[in-house]
């Protein structure tokens, strides 16, 4: 199967010309198109797609980085536990440098906490087999990562000393709530290719119904992203907003049923704190009663600090995540805040907007 064709320079050029000459020229205003997936930002920066778009088409990164929306409250709580009890914490590499109120996982590690990086929940489970102490997997990620967590708990033989601290979040409800509260606004939404593989597209119908926003799913090659932008502009021009599938080779409208069943079996949706954005109902995956033996929050009597700080003074991650400013508008960007020494979470993960811009050379 030739998937490289979705990066064919000729196709990419034609798509960008069609966007420019045919669709955008018919719109006499600035159109703000938001994506909500860190990997889309990565593709947009890597392929230089913003340079291929006309002046009046702005593509903005929304709340699409799970690491960036993980609250300091949870980071502080698990670090406190790691420093006070004989436990091992495992988590994804992207989490390690994310600052909590005082410490990051990496700094806690240098103070003696047992914190290990893993690539997946499967690695975390394997590591636990050879460990004598309780191992707690700090499980971060949207539905794309929550589904593997759920499947692993259902299908695998899991050692008794393995636990989960879930900070998994459900994207569609979070973005809908932010839109409803007026915290974010947009003229079109690029749906997250891989998260939507799990959730399916139906959950996005109410974005169209309630806000009249064109919603198009997209893959991660250059032509995929441009196709979604083109389809959104076509919908705007024809006045017929709808949910459209621009990533047919992977996404089914219904989503991945097996993954959805696993999620429903293992988790329920509770209110969750999104870093810098506050509490949002029914967006946090918490373990169901039948799986509570894995729940670190319950089994270790996690105490939440009340005085946690989401963003350090001067860090504008909260506004970056909402797409209200670009990283260049933060005066710490690339000066005091770099991937080596990040001040906010958006400069840490490969899905963080500040990190993507920094790596892409947007440092002037």
């Amino acid at each position: 199967m030739d998937l490289e064709v979705f990066n064919d320079p000729e196709i990419v050029k034609k798509l960008s010309e069609t966007i420019k000459n045919k669709e955008s020229s018919r719109i006499n205003r600035t159109v703000k198109i938001m994506h909500i997936c860190g990997t889309h930002e990565n593709s947009i920066v890597r392929f230089g797609l913003r340079d291929l778009l006309p002046e009046n088409i702005k593509v903005i990164a929304g709340p699409g980085c799970p690491v960036c929306v993980t609250s300091s409250r949870d980071i502080d709580a698990i670090i406190d536990l790691a420093l006070s009890e004989n436990v091992r914490i495992t988590t994804f590499g992207d989490m390690l440098k994310v600052p909590g109120t005082k410490l990051s996982f990496q700094k806690a590690h240098s103070l003696g906490a047992d914190i290990q990086m893993v690539y997946s929940i499967f690695d975390a489970i394997e590591q636990t087999r050879s460990s004598k102490k309780p191992n707690i997997f700090f499980a971060c990620g949207f539905e794309t990562t929550a589904a593997p967590t759920a499947s692993a708990l259902i299908d695998l033989d899991i050692p008794d000393n393995f636990f989960i601290y879930s900070v998994h979040k459900y994207t569609p409800k979070g973005v809908y709530a932010l839109l409803k509260s007026g915290k974010i606004n947009m003229d079109g939404l690029i749906l997250p290719g891989h998260a939507a593989t799990i959730s399916g597209l139906e959950v996005y119908e109410r974005f169209v119904k309630d806000f009249g926003i064109p919603c198009v799913s997209a893959g991660f090659e250059a032509a995929d992203v441009l196709l979604a932008i083109l389809l959104i502009l076509k919908q705007i021009n024809s006045g017929t907003p709808k949910v459209e599938n621009g990533y047919k080779r992977v996404i089914n409208y219904e989503g991945n049923k097996k993954a959805q069943e696993a999620l429903n079996e293992v988790f329920f949706l509770d209110s969750a704190i999104w870093r810098g954005l506050g509490e949002i109902n029914e967006t946090g995956y918490e373990l169901n009663r039948n799986y509570s033996r894995f729940d670190a929050k319950k089994n270790f009597g996690i105490k939440y600090p009340d005085n946690f700080i989401e963003h350090q003074k001067g860090c504008r991650c909260g506004e970056v995540i909402l797409g209200n400013i670009t990283p260049l508008e933060c005066h710490l960007y690339a000066k005091r805040c770099t991937p080596e020494d990040p001040i906010g979470p958006c400069m840490v993960s490969d899905e963080g907007t500040c990190k993507n811009w920094y790596d892409g050379g947007g440092i002037e």
């Binding site: 798509l15 990565n42 990562t145 593989t197 076509k234 080779r249 097996k258 899905e351």
Partner: protein, 78 residues
């Protein structure tokens, strides 16, 4: 962390729920429990050690057709 990558299934273990995938010259262990009817040679999107969906050849062609249609509309001036 959330980067999903297209990879080819090169081996499925007897359990049926895991095996080996390959992409860009790299081989990796992968879980398949979210996908039915997987065969060696199929392409999947791998995310955090787990295949989250199969890439359908037929749908990939349709995907390409959708792009072509959008571009053809341009050339015909429609």
């Amino acid at each position: 962390m959330c980067l999903g990558i297209a990879m080819k299934v090169v081996e499925i273990y007897d359990s049926g729920i895991d095996g080996i995938v390959e992409g860009g010259g790299v081989k990796r262990h992968c879980f398949f429990h979210m996908i039915d009817d997987l065969k060696v040679g199929d392409y999947v999107i791998v995310h955090a050690g787990c295949a989250i969906e199969k890439i359908e050849e037929e749908e990939a062609n349709e995907n390409l057709k959708l792009i072509e249609q959008c571009l053809l509309g341009e050339e015909n001036g429609s």
